[in-house]
Each structure stands twice: as C-alpha cells, then as structure tokens.
C-alpha cells in the first residue's frame, strides 16, 4: 500500500476542514497563490475576499465574537501580513481567538530582504498569544491543530503561522497526519479554581454587607451568561459590567446597575467605590475602569476570578485570587454556597439597595432633545433599540457613538455587542459587522459608527456587495472626530486641532456608487420613520447617514486622576 502524498497547500485546506472551519477571510498574493489554488479546487471552505487585509482580521474577529468559533485569516507575505497587524492587536487586547496564516518568501530567501519579505513573526510577537515559523511540510497539519488549540483555550488570543512558499508548491509533497487531540507539555491552562480559594471566596461573600459583582469580557468568551445570572440572583447582589462584558447579564435585569468605568453610570461607579466586597469575574481592572488606582475602592475586599494569572494583582491587588475558567469557578462558588447553606443577609441587602437606588436617582443621565433642534446622537441609539426590539447584533467603531451605544442599547444577551474595547481600533465596526452578518444572515446586524471611523475601512462596502452582506450602517455624523473634540473641549480649552473634517464625502452617493442604498436623516421628525425604512430593506445594505449635534458630549465621564466615582455628570456638573 502506498501512502497518499499531499502538497503543503492541500494540507492546509485538509487541516482546516478537519477543524471544521467554514470561512477563511483573506487576500491573495505571490507567496500564497498555491494555497489559493488549493482553496479554489474544493468547496468545504469558503474564502471571503476582502478589500484590505486589516478588514480580513476584523471580519474574522466579528465572526468569532458573534459565534464563538475561531476565525481564520489568510494573507500574503510582506505588506499583506503587516496589514493584519492592527487587527491582530485588536483581537489580542480583547482575548479573541484567531488563527492567521501568513505567507512567507521561500525558505532559502528568508533573511535576504527578498521581494515582499517581512518578518511577520517578529512584527507580531508582542501582540499574539503564540506564533509558529513553519519550516517542514509534514508539520503543517499539526502546527495548525496546535494553533487552534492554543488560540481557543485558556485565555484566548490570536496565533500566527508563517508559511514559506516552498512548503506550499506542487513539487513538494508529504503524507498527511493530524493529531486534533493536542497535548503540550509546556501549555496546560488551569481549569478549576483551587478549592481552598473557593472556600475563602465564599466565606468573604458570606461576610459581605455591601457586595457588588463586577463582570467582564471573560463571561462573554466563556458563554457563561446563564450561570452569572444564576449567581447574581442567588446573591441578590447588584451587578455592573465592563464595556467588554455587556450582555453578560441582561441589560434589563433588575440587579443590573449599568456599565462602570470612564463612561459608566453614576450608580455603578458609586456602588463600586462604596462596596465592602467586590466579586470580580473575568475582568482585568483596566485603567478605563479603575481611574486612579491609588484611589480605587479603598474599603473593598477583592475576590478576583480570572483564567489568566497575570491579570490578577497586575493593577489592583486581589485579596482572594482564584485562577480558573470563569464558568467553572462560578459553578464551584454556587456549589460551595449551597454546601455552606448560604442565605442572603436581607437586612444588609435592603440598606445596600436603598443606597444604590438613591445613587440611581441622582444620576442625571441623559440628554435633552429639543424638538426643532439638531438630532441628539443618544436619541438615534434609542430609536435603533426600539425598532430592532433590542435583538440586533451591534458592531461598533470607536468613539462617542461607541459609548452612546453601550449606554443606550441594553443588550439582553452576550455576543450581541461587538466592539474593540482594549485596543480601541477605529475601522473595526464595518468589517466586524460583516463577520457577524455572515454568521447570522437572518438577524439584524448594525454597524454603529461615526463619520471618522467609517472612513477607515469604507472600502469594504465592495466586499458587502460581492457576498450579499446587508448590514445596516448607522453613521452618527457630527462632521468631526467627536471623542477627540470632546477632550479638546474639556482639556484643551476648545482648540479643535485636526478634529474637524471639512471634506466629508457624500455618503449617500458613495453607498450608491458601491451598489447599496443610502438614506440621509437630518431632522428629528424623520428619524424614526426613516430608520424604520432602513431596517425594512432586507436584501440590501443600507447606509444611514444621520446628521447629529456635534456639540454633544458623552456623560457621565470620570474626572482624570480621580477615584472611580469622581465623575462629570453633565457639562460642568460633578456627581
């Protein structure tokens, strides 16, 4: 019997099939043409041709955030690979699993400054979970299997595989063998929390009089919303979410006190500041949450549950650290609560909740929409929420619109809210929305964006046409870089350095030029009806250009260098 031999290109495709990959997001070029030829000759995996490699990474990322499945990116060597860098960093900062296949010049030319040669493994080293330089054809399947395993276990993250051209060409062949049950002696992420730490955590919870649950992106990544809700209801505690954790519990749940942090709600930040115990679940005490770490929640005992030990006591010291998968640890805590016959301290809870309601009443959240005046951006989000019944996937770009969406669209479920939280990557929204739409063609998928962000990957309107991806793009058009402008108003005495866009395109004509539908909204009285109209167009991408008040600021906003609850609640008014 002779063993069947395969080219490297065929092996890549076979390995991806074995790992049940449906889509590859990419762009061809010299060093990966053999791989494109192999993809062309099969139909298990579909290749989505973007218009810029950065968009391929964001589209894979959006697909992953919406589905939980690992996204796969394919780019050629040199500029193709370096164009992926921003997208890889974006995925890395938000712990999104991704596998990036990057072409490379033939092995014999590596190091010679060959045409389209870039050391992409070197370029991406600080922004990946791991990377592989593939140097042997026969290794390809197992390298790919390992990459998926590493990307999607422990704290997830992007993995880069560099594939030199000589490994992919038809002349070189080897037998195909793949071990999908990966074991590595150097990589064994923790799963369960240490029982002693669980007991300590539950004891601390039992003694709490002012407990708050602070949960983040870890809950979303672990698909642990049901468990989190059960835990919160058992404890009867208030819960706040980070920007990344929205949807981890329903935004309409009665225990939910809003997002915390820089643009969080007053009651969330006040509750954190006054808590005696903080149960932190799948969060990393980011600087956009804590504000000045020296002033952070001085009276709280902190229980910190995270899969990544480096996240624990990095910025804020944890009194009870628990390393493990957040869903597994929450189940352990629930079991321990039952075992220790936990009953909520009703008297303490009543006082605590009474206090929280007082904070809620003084929150001044909101905005004033005066009829006849310019549309307030917040009003657009509320309209969008109403029309989609809160069920849409909302992929956001970065800026004021992102914060307004986080504040005014209460997400019922995890994975509905797709945004670049850690990296803050403008240009993320549209391709991310496309990835979500590809996964859920029958759902409303919105790209909420601004006139600045949308122009950072606007070329993808062409990809949307090619693959029939009818997302609804809602541009909160304030003719300026709103968040930059806000800071310039607040910190730089209103000097709007380079935050004003004097030469915006006609977005309606632009959308139409790509073959889509454009709708312009510039007065309040047509907002609801025209938005409704946009969502009723099912088979075409609709670009909604809403002219909003450029003077509006995002509030509340933490005061720089203050405590977590030192906040502006409106222009010139402190909490």
């Amino acid at each position: 019997m002779t063993t069947e031999l395969f080219t490297g290109a065929e092996m890549v495709v076979k390995a991806l099939s074995a790992l049940k990959v449906k889509y590859i997001f990419g762009y061809p070029g010299g060093s990966v043409l053999d791989l494109y030829d192999a993809i062309f000759q099969q139909d298990e995996i579909e290749h989505i041709l973007v218009r810029h490699e950065q968009a391929a990474t964001h589209m894979a990322d959006g697909y992953t955030r919406a589905t939980g499945k690992v996204g796969v990116v394919l780019a050629t060597s040199g500029p193709g690979a370096t164009n992926c860098v921003t997208g890889i960093a974006t995925a890395y900062m938000d712990s999104i699993p991704m596998v990036i296949l990057a072409g490379q010049v033939p092995t014999a030319l590596i190091g010679n400054d060959a045409f389209q040669e870039t050391d992409i493994v070197g370029c991406t080293r600080p922004i990946i979970k791991h990377s592989f330089n593939c140097r042997d054809l026969a290794d390809i399947p197992n390298v790919i299997a390992k990459a998926f395993y590493i990307a999607n276990t422990g704290r997830p993250g992007p993995v880069v595989i560099e594939l030199p051209k000589d490994l992919l060409i038809p002349q070189n062949k080897a037998p195909f063998h793949i071990e999908t049950n990966v074991k590595m002696r150097s990589y064994n992420p923790n799963i369960k929390g240490h029982p002693k730490q669980i007991r300590k955590a539950v004891k601390t919870i039992n003694e709490a009089k002012k407990l708050v649950v602070y949960s983040g992106g870890g809950i979303v990544l672990a698909d642990a919303a049901a468990l989190l809700t059960q835990l919160v209801e058992t404890l009867k505690a208030p819960i706040t979410n980070t920007l990344m954790g929205l949807g981890g519990i329903s935004g309409l749940h009665e225990n939910f006190i809003g997002m915390l942090g820089m643009h969080g709600s007053v009651e969330a930040n006040k509750t954190m500041a006054n808590a005696d115990v903080i149960l932190a679940l799948g969060v990393r005490f980011d600087d956009r949450v804590t504000n000045n770490v020296e002033k952070f929640c001085p009276n709280a005992t902190i229980i910190h549950v995270d899969i990544d030990p480096t996240s624990i006591s990095k910025t804020i010291n944890a009194h009870v650290p628990v390393v493990g998968l957040v869903d597994v640890v929450m189940q352990q805590i629930l079991d321990e609560l039952v075992a220790t016959k936990f009953t909520p301290n009703e008297a303490a809870l009543q006082d605590w909740w009474q206090q929280i309601h007082l904070w809620r009443d003084m929150r001044h959240v909101g905005y004033k929409q005066v009829v006849g005046e310019k549309i307030k951006p917040q009003r657009v989000i509320e309209a969008m929420y109403k029309i989609t019944k809160g069920e849409a996937y909302v992929a956001s770009d970065v800026g004021q619109h992102q914060m307004f969406a986080a504040q005014y669209y209460p997400f019922a479920k995890p994975r509905q809210w797709i945004n670049s939280g850690g990296a803050g990557t403008m240009g993320f929204g549209l391709p991310a929305a496309m990835g979500a739409k590809l996964a859920f063609p029958d759902k409303h998928v919105i790209c909420i964006t601004g006139d600045g962000s949308i122009q950072m990957n606007i070329q993808e309107l062409s990809t949307c046409m090619q693959y029939s991806l009818p997302v609804v793009i809602i541009t909160l058009n304030n003719r300026s870089l709103g968040m930059v402008r806000q800071w310039q108003d607040m910190v730089y005495d209103g000097r709007h350095a380079s935050s004003y866009m004097e030469s915006l395109p006609d977005f309606i004509k632009l959308a139409e030029a790509y073959g889509h539908v454009g709708i312009k909204i510039d007065t309040l009285d047509e907002l609801d009806s025209k938005l409704e109209q946009a969502f009723n167009i099912k088979n075409k991408l609709v670009f909604v250009d809403v002219l909003v008040d450029e003077k509006e600021h995002v509030y509340p906003m933490q005061i720089r260098q203050g405590a977590i609850d030192d906040m502006w609640v409106s222009k010139g008014v402190k909490a």
Binding site: R125, H130, S131, N133, S186, P309, T310, S313, K314
Partner: protein
C-alpha cells in the same frame, strides 16, 4: 532587590526572542541573561538576573510562565542556591612588577591565567557575580584592563529540589 530566575523552556526557534521581547515590552529589567540547551536537548535553560520589587517580580514570573514555550520558572533567590558566573579578562602585564602583582591577585581570587601574550595576561575566574566585580575592581587598581567578558550568572537550587520536566 536582585533576583535570579531560572527558566526551563522548549528549545525552539524564537523561544529566546519571546523572553527577551517580553522583558522589553513590559519594561522589566535584565541585568544578565544566559541560555543554552540542557542535558535533554529538546529543552533550553535560561538564567536571568533581574531587579525589581515583589510586585514587579510577581508579574515577571507570571508573564514568563504565560509564554506558551515556557515549561517552568523559578526564583532561585527565594531559596538556598548556588550561583556562578564566568569572567575572562585581558589585562596589561608589561613589567615584571605588574606580572607578579596580577598573578598574585589572580591567585588570591582563585583565578587561572589561561593565556599569555608579550604584554598581556588573560585570566579566567569563576564565582558569584559579586566576587567577579570585586576582582575587576582590584585589577583596575593595579593594571589596565584591556578587555573583559562576563557570562552572566547561572544558578541551581541546593539539595533535592530540581527544575525538570
């Protein structure tokens, strides 16, 4: 405070660059770094001497451990250990007096003269990093140091404790 970290990791291309990159990326300090394959040549062992308070050290150990290639890391300075560094130093030995003096200092420190030129001695010395520094200072008072190279320190725990897979 100075710490000596021993790291056992996969002997693979790029593993060292990940360690070095991590230190520069997160602004951790490297005083010295040595690397070589172990008796099992699928494994490399790195010894890093670093400086930092407890909080920084905790992060260094956790961050290094998080690298996929790393199997184990231990802070040798937390327990009894043996620490050694190798020095090769080329000094001017132009007169009888200076040759005698250099030989005498070298003997006191238990160094060995491993090469002799017309006007130079090359001395080999092994010991703790402190001892090497003291040796260099003493030589400096007596003669001109033409060239010196230090290996960076390596270390191993005393007793039964072993860093193995």
């Amino acid at each position: 405070m100075r710490h000596i970290l021993s790291i056992l990791l996969e002997n693979e291309a790029g593993a060292l660059s990940r360690i070095v990159g991590l230190f520069s990326q997160r602004a951790f300090n490297i005083e010295s770094l040595t690397v070589a394959p172990t008796d099992d040549n699928t494994l490399s062992r790195i010894t890093i001497a670093t400086i930092g308070d407890d909080r920084v050290l905790e992060q260094i150990v956790k961050q290094v451990n998080k690298l996929v290639d790393v199997i184990k890391i231990t802070d040798l300075t937390k327990r009894k250990h043996v620490e050694r560094e190798l020095l090769l130093v080329k000094v001017a030995a132009v007169s009888d007096k200076s040759r005698t003096e250099v030989k005498r200092i070298s003997d006191i420190f238990r160094g060995a003269i491993v090469d002799i030129g017309k006007q130079i001695y090359t001395i080999e010395l092994t010991g703790s990093s402190d001892k090497l520094t003291a040796f260099i200072e003493t030589l400096n008072n007596e003669t001109e140091i033409i060239e010196s190279v230090r290996s960076g320190c390596v270390g191993i725990a005393r007793g039964e404790k072993a860093l193995r897979v």
